[in-house]
């Protein structure tokens, strides 16, 4: 995950105050069960049951998505063995694995970790077993929710693995059920931390302005915003001057677009997008790849960064 210099700085500050980083560094004593190069297993100081362990990556990641894929793989394999260890050593019938991403989920420390809790029948931890509340009472809403999730899961997996997951063909683009108003500064930040996007803005500002307003997903983010201004600010930051003519054109374009009917707009978007795509085809190899995946990919990236920004803000907050 790429972070902006500011976020990097915040992360460093967070690390400096992190009790688990101190435990790992040996500055705070803890009951260590096991330790290897990448992970440390300690007993929880406030255990749910006897033998409640925390599997802690030595590197400071605020939440799981920050962790690189290969480290995640090692962690996952290890977790199975730790669950087995919990049951064997504590002589229990089973164990519970518990991950909290974010404070709302019960994460108290900004250092990502996994709880492994040895479990037995009468340990009283029934709250960890799924409630049986009826969640599908509104059948239509339930179905809609399922559709949204299905598409988002597909996109997330495709983004993470670079491969299309098996099964259902790509359906309608996932829609955020709760679109959030994003400020101009945030948008600038999003562009800054998203390398392919930043390259695009710096090298093809005009093309970006068009894409931003028309692309099915980007247009929501940039709705009602002056894309020209945002792009100019980014360009200024990187020492490039703006082109006033392009700016005016863009504004006209925006107005025109608003007048157009929905169907027309959609057709136009597609046509325009193909244009931009073609124009970009000759660009750097790297960029080509991103573009070939389609602007969809880019849009989602944006949203992902958006989400993580949100998250970071929360974690630091």
């Amino acid at each position: 995950m790429q972070l902006s210099p500011e976020q990097q700085k915040m992360l460093e500050e967070q690390k400096a105050n992190c009790p688990f980083c101190k435990i790992i560094a040996g500055e705070i004593p803890a009951r260590k069960v096991y330790e290897n190069e990448q992970f440390l297993i300690v007993l929880d100081i406030n255990p749910a049951t006897e033998g409640h362990m925390l599997v802690v990556p030595k590197e400071h990641y605020p939440i799981l998505p920050f962790m690189p894929m290969d480290a995640q793989k090692k962690l996952f394999v290890m977790l199975r063995d730790v669950m087995e260890l919990a049951q064997h050593a504590m002589v229990t019938r089973g164990s519970t694995l518990f991950i909290a991403n974010g404070q709302a989920a019960g994460q108290n420390v900004n250092h990502f970790m996994v709880h492994v809790i040895p479990r037995d029948k009468n340990d009283g931890l029934y709250e960890l077993h799924s409630k049986q509340e009826d969640l599908a009472s509104d059948a239509e809403e339930f179905k809609k929710l399922g559709g949204t999730l299905k598409n988002t899961i597909r996109t997330v997996i495709q983004r993470a693995t670079g491969k299309a997951p098996p099964g259902a063909p790509p359906g309608v683009q996932p829609q955020l059920t709760q679109p959030r108003e994003v400020s101009e500064d945030e948008l600038i930040n999003i562009i800054e931390i998203n390398k392919p996007l930043l390259d695009l803005v710096l090298q093809q500002p005009e093309a970006f302005k068009k894409v931003a307003l028309q692309h099915p997903q980007l247009k929501d983010l940039f709705k009602g915003k002056e894309v020209g201004k945002i792009v100019d600010k980014v360009l200024e930051k990187h020492g490039k001057t703006k082109q006033k003519e392009g700016d005016k054109k863009e504004e006209k374009h925006e107005k025109k677009q608003k007048k157009d009917g929905k169907e027309d707009k959609e057709k136009e978007v597609e046509a325009e997008f193909e244009e931009v795509k073609d124009a970009l085809e000759g660009d750097q190899e790297e960029e080509k790849e991103t573009k070939e995946e389609g602007g969809k990919e880019e849009g989602k990236k944006n949203e992902k960064k958006d989400a993580s920004l949100d998250d970071i803000a929360k974690l630091f907050g």
Partner: protein
């Protein structure tokens, strides 16, 4: 013995949000909160230890992807991933098909998944630590590093570092503890027999 999870997976009415050769993710119709997704292994697997490395990585990684997707699509303030593994609630309970619950969380969702801390004094905690450490070498063995002696040596070093002030106590209890552990080894096998349905 029918398994609820297997029935759900086979039922065409079930709202599957993800499916591949090994994993099915279902939008939970019963659970904690709306938007909860339950990730199942397709095979009726009850013990996580039965999964090989690849299967385990696939199971948890898919769960992690689903968690990211839940976060992006529903805009909660956090997510929980919870796996209850093994025959925790006993044989009469038929819910032990391996499953990862992905729970979208909000500050005001009135869910309390956090446990009450068990009160344990230092001595009890040290005992637990010894029990776990005694078996922790298995974590290395799994990776093919069979250096049991070296590991145990290392383990002892850590003990000495950790328990500066408790050296005397350790000495007194040493004999007693090993005795206890032997007793538990038998117990452990018995308990494992109980886990087989």
């Amino acid at each position: 013995m029918t398994c609820k999870a297997c029935e759900w997976i086979e039922n065409k009415e079930t709202l599957k949000v993800y499916e591949d050769d090994a994993i099915v993710a279902v939008l939970a119709s019963k659970g904690w909160v709306k938007g909860q997704v339950d990730v199942f292994t397709k095979k009726h697997e009850m013990e996580i230890t039965k999964l090989d490395d690849e299967g385990m990585v696939h199971f948890l990684q898919t769960s992690a992807h689903v968690a990211s997707a839940v976060f992006e699509a529903l805009g909660p303030q956090g997510t929980n991933v919870i796996i209850n593994e093994g025959n925790i609630l006993g044989e009469e309970n038929n819910d032990n098909h391996l499953c990862a619950h992905i729970v979208p969380r909000k500050f005001d969702d009135n869910l309390n998944l956090m446990w009450k801390p068990k009160t344990m004094d230092d001595e009890e905690k040290d005992k637990v630590l010894e029990k776990l450490k005694d078996k922790a070498f298995s974590l290395d063995q799994k990776k093919g590093k069979k250096e049991e002696k070296g590991e145990k040596q290392e383990g002892k070093d850590v003990v000495q570092k950790d328990e500066h002030g408790h050296e005397k106590k350790d000495g007194k209890e040493g004999g007693h503890e090993t005795h206890e552990q032997k007793g538990e080894k038998v117990d452990y096998r018995l308990k494992h027999l109980m886990r087989i349905p």
